[in-house]
Symmetry: C2
Subunit: 506 residues, 2 copies
Amino acid sequence: MTGRGKAKRGIPAKSDFNSWYPSIVEIADLVDKRYPIKGMDVWKPYGLSAMSLIDSLARQQMTNTGHSEYRFPLLVPEDLLERENKLVSRLKAARAAGVDPSELRIDEEDSGFKKEVYWVTHGGENELEVPMFLRPTSETPMYTMFSLWVRSHADLPLKTFQIVNTFRYETKQTRSFIRVREIHFFEAHTVHATEQDATAQIDEDAQMVQSILHDLCLPSIVSKRPVWDTFPGAWYTMAADVVMPNGRTLQVATYHHYRDQWAGAFDLSYEDPDGKTQLCHQTTFGMSERLLGSVVGMHGDDQGLIMPPAIAPFQVVLFPVAAHVNENVIPAIKDLAQSLRDSGFRVKLDDREVRPGVKHYDWEIKGVPIRLELGPRDLESGSCILSIRTGGKEEVPIEGISETIGKKLHSISEELRARSSVHLESLVRPFPGVVSIGDKWELAAEIDDDVIYEIAFDGNDSDAEILEKLTGLAILGDCDEPYPEPTPCVVTGRPTTRKQHLARMY
Amino acid sequence: MTGRGKAKRGIPAKSDFNSWYPSIVEIADLVDKRYPIKGMDVWKPYGLSAMSLIDSLARQQMTNTGHSEYRFPLLVPEDLLERENKLVSRLKAARAAGVDPSELRIDEEDSGFKKEVYWVTHGGENELEVPMFLRPTSETPMYTMFSLWVRSHADLPLKTFQIVNTFRYETKQTRSFIRVREIHFFEAHTVHATEQDATAQIDEDAQMVQSILHDLCLPSIVSKRPVWDTFPGAWYTMAADVVMPNGRTLQVATYHHYRDQWAGAFDLSYEDPDGKTQLCHQTTFGMSERLLGSVVGMHGDDQGLIMPPAIAPFQVVLFPVAAHVNENVIPAIKDLAQSLRDSGFRVKLDDREVRPGVKHYDWEIKGVPIRLELGPRDLESGSCILSIRTGGKEEVPIEGISETIGKKLHSISEELRARSSVHLESLVRPFPGVVSIGDKWELAAEIDDDVIYEIAFDGNDSDAEILEKLTGLAILGDCDEPYPEPTPCVVTGRPTTRKQHLARMY
């Protein structure tokens, strides 16, 4: 940290979220955006540490559920794409036969793939025989290998994951953690004997996402994406969206059921116990540095970040006060720091030669959950002062400090969860509805563009298009918490329990 | 692991090292080389786990010495190279003024840089205005940022590191871990106020390298590289070479003193306490997956890998024997595994339904330091059987097992260190010398090409070239353990304490 005690760091008010967010990621020393390629930030130690702690949460979930960590090459030869193209064509044909207008949208997305990657065309001064692209995600490299690894039902399930850098030639405006061109990416890929096994994996993924979001104190909306927003080659796509303070939803996790569609394209099959060859069923599960972006966006305030204790690089920062007055202060605070470390907390003793006010200010910006001060008077009274980042300052006894800190961290997490839930609820509004006048549809009333709308919706793709065009918002898909009672669809009026959301997506 | 109990896995004899090495990396499930780009292997869980443990050793050293972890972008715009080119030109000019023949060799290496990287020329279907290359190492991206970060003497020292993927368009034959095109790379970059501070950093680097090599049970030869083998832009380059069983040396760590040469090119300066602008002094320190390659190559035997306990993904693998005979075996071995885990060991309980012989065989190939068997008879006697990967099998009491395992792991490390030292000494031979006949030089006797030669050498570059041409070997540079007494130089005959080595380098 630079922290040489400037009185003011120029943090914009959080109510001006679109100014606050890009400022705070640099002011709090998470990244430096001055690297000369737009959308490729330098991770500074504090940001990288928080991200690594998020990675650890994911890794722990993976280990607990029997996934193994691999690392596949970054570069993918163009000719491997043929299989992927074959898959997309096959699906197109199948869907064309069903005459479903949504296919047209899928086609656009698929053909756009080549437009979204970076191409390596030369090695040294030689033009490569086969151009290679930087992975945007790893279906193609992984499934090429999976088809070599899976032979028999005894090889299944194959549960893999990797945490790697991926790339996307992003033409939209870039934003740290939210829309970047080099992405810190988590991807799990699994192979199963049956559709049911893959479905069970999707359920496991759903639980893992919720567990991680719980640790990050982030409530989310979980939806089954509409067909046109389904991942290419997937049977269906589930997504968790966090609602940022400006009302825009940020997709932070997706998990896809592929059935045997990708397996067909990659000759990924196994011999079942009866000696018959069967296609495998697959799932994938992806998350990224967007999780850190949500943490920044959701929990921060006018004073800076607030780090959820589960991923705070430092859960407690200690600093001495008036140590020159009493020579016992420094040894005592060192002991205190060590005993907290021994109890498993992530602890920083800030012994810089700057005023305590500067230290308070610096660590407040960085969102450290608990600041702990110890001075000569505290030594006499056998206590210390805790400043809680979510609010409040209190004197607590040094005796039993580890237990006290543990409880405080727990209550900080609870407080962050409560605030986030209130925030989410406050942004979800009832939809004013649409009315048809002649053959034209109109909104029944004006809508806000910084909130999301909950709708009962059971229409077809044309109905969805009407809604999206009129509102300029996107349908997130079928919410995993449907209405308990049938409610009239906003377009067709037909009673349905299908709850959906209209939102501006990042 | 696949481990379905094939009786023979086709491990070549280790005496045929050039067949053994490429086989064992796949048989022991470290990597899969079938990915369709040569030199880009897939890291399998066992290999990735060992590598991650090596990373942890490096990370620990870095943390203990006040380095912070960063992550810089992979892609570097070509125009940033201008500064690097400027540096190289400046050094060329300076050296040309000194009329030192070694410069010619340096020039070749520098101009080769562009030939050794992969070039990204397109984003989607657009040709990029400025082509970008995949980092082979990160001087250019890092120092571009450092010059923004360092302003005052109070910002120094700046001690950074990162663990990332780097790329090299390798035209030589690739070998897993040893010569690859996507490299798992560790690089530390530091910035100091003075040359002396940078020199102290070089000393710290030397100690860290030795500490890591000690944990990996790998003795090395540490040399100051000759001028022509100095990293471009460095004042001098230190390197640690491990000697592989085929007598070839593998450079596993380098650390470079840059003085203020790179700083000059990157405008990396600071204001000293007197308000004067001074150029910074810099060092770098690099290691890679070659460390794992050395572990594989040095410690393995005809039966497979031998993992040094410090980086063994599993230090102890337990398996039950004849569990069907006594229902207490399974609970007892689970308790045993848990108590070892609680003591901090990396433990695997192999409960596959295959014969114990198969398990022995599988874990022997993977080089697990200790295999622990427990059966009904052992339960009665309160003991278990340990198979030590470096040799021997013994019955030990279950009581105090954690202490026993700790001691055994220690002695396995010691045994590996002893073997490696013997190995190294056995490969270092006295050099038969050279003789001049007329104006031609010849070897005094034939030499072996699978050993390395120790020489007293104090000649100039032409003398070095004579030696390298006659032997087909390379001079590693000034060994950090000079002769205690002056010894005649092999070419000039002048007494010198400078010890050097002639070797075939990987």
